[in-house]
């Protein structure tokens, strides 16, 4: 069974540039999560979906971040105008239903110069 797939693995940007991250969850998993993990910190939830619906995006900086999951499968997280403070690893995870076991992808490591 394929795991959660994320791309790209790495991204390096200048401040003000835009970037998109892509996530393909485990087949059949209807719940998808995006976490931000700054260096030397634990993952922090940004947004999560059940199918195509956003369940909670209260921690997503809405002025610059957006996330979609239009068909309830793959998802894209976009940063419109990156700042140095956005430097972190962005982890995608999926689960079947609102289950307590999350399956994580390998993450995208973003560096904003």
């Amino acid at each position: 069974e394929a795991g959660v797939t994320q791309s790209p693995r790495y991204a390096v940007l200048q401040e003000g540039q835009a970037v998109s991250f892509w996530c393909d969850p485990i087949s059949g998993h209807d719940t998808l999560y995006w976490y931000q993990q700054p260096r030397d910190q634990g993952p922090q939830l940004l947004v999560y979906f059940r199918d195509e619906a956003v369940i909670d995006n209260s921690q997503l900086p809405s002025d610059r971040f957006s996330a979609v999951r239009p068909k309830g499968t793959n998802s894209t997280l976009k940063i419109q105008s990156a700042k140095q403070g956005d430097t972190a690893t962005y982890l995608c995870a999926s689960s079947w239903g609102f289950a307590e076991t999350l399956y994580f992808g390998s993450g995208t490591r973003l560096t904003v110069l």
Binding site: G3, V4, T31, Y33, D40, Q41, G42, P43, Q44, L45, Y48, I55, D56, L91, S95, F98, A99, E100, T101, L102, Y103, F104, G105, S106, G107
Partner: protein
Amino acid sequence: GDSVTQKEGLVTLTEGLPVMLNCTYQTIYSNAFLFWYVHYLNESPRLLLKSSTDNKRTEHQGFHATLHKSSSSFHLQKSSAQLSDSALYYCALSDTGGLSGKLTFGEGTQVTVIS
């Protein structure tokens, strides 16, 4: 809001000696679910242990932990460390009966086992 504290950021252990990683949490909800996730280098984080039952020991892959709601703790233990246990360990909390998947993570403990 919810919080999870892992007081050891870096731990270096000698192979064969016991392991104990501390985890305490704060939540206003009584139905806390606690988890340990492990993140090996060049792999994805994955679930190691989970529990929602007070005072019941849960075990997996040689590790064990007991949720103590009276002290809000969920310490991870292993009787004998192996070199392959070197990894980043996260304690995490769900306050919604595990029904939302909305986890609050601690800052993690980086474990290095040496021979």
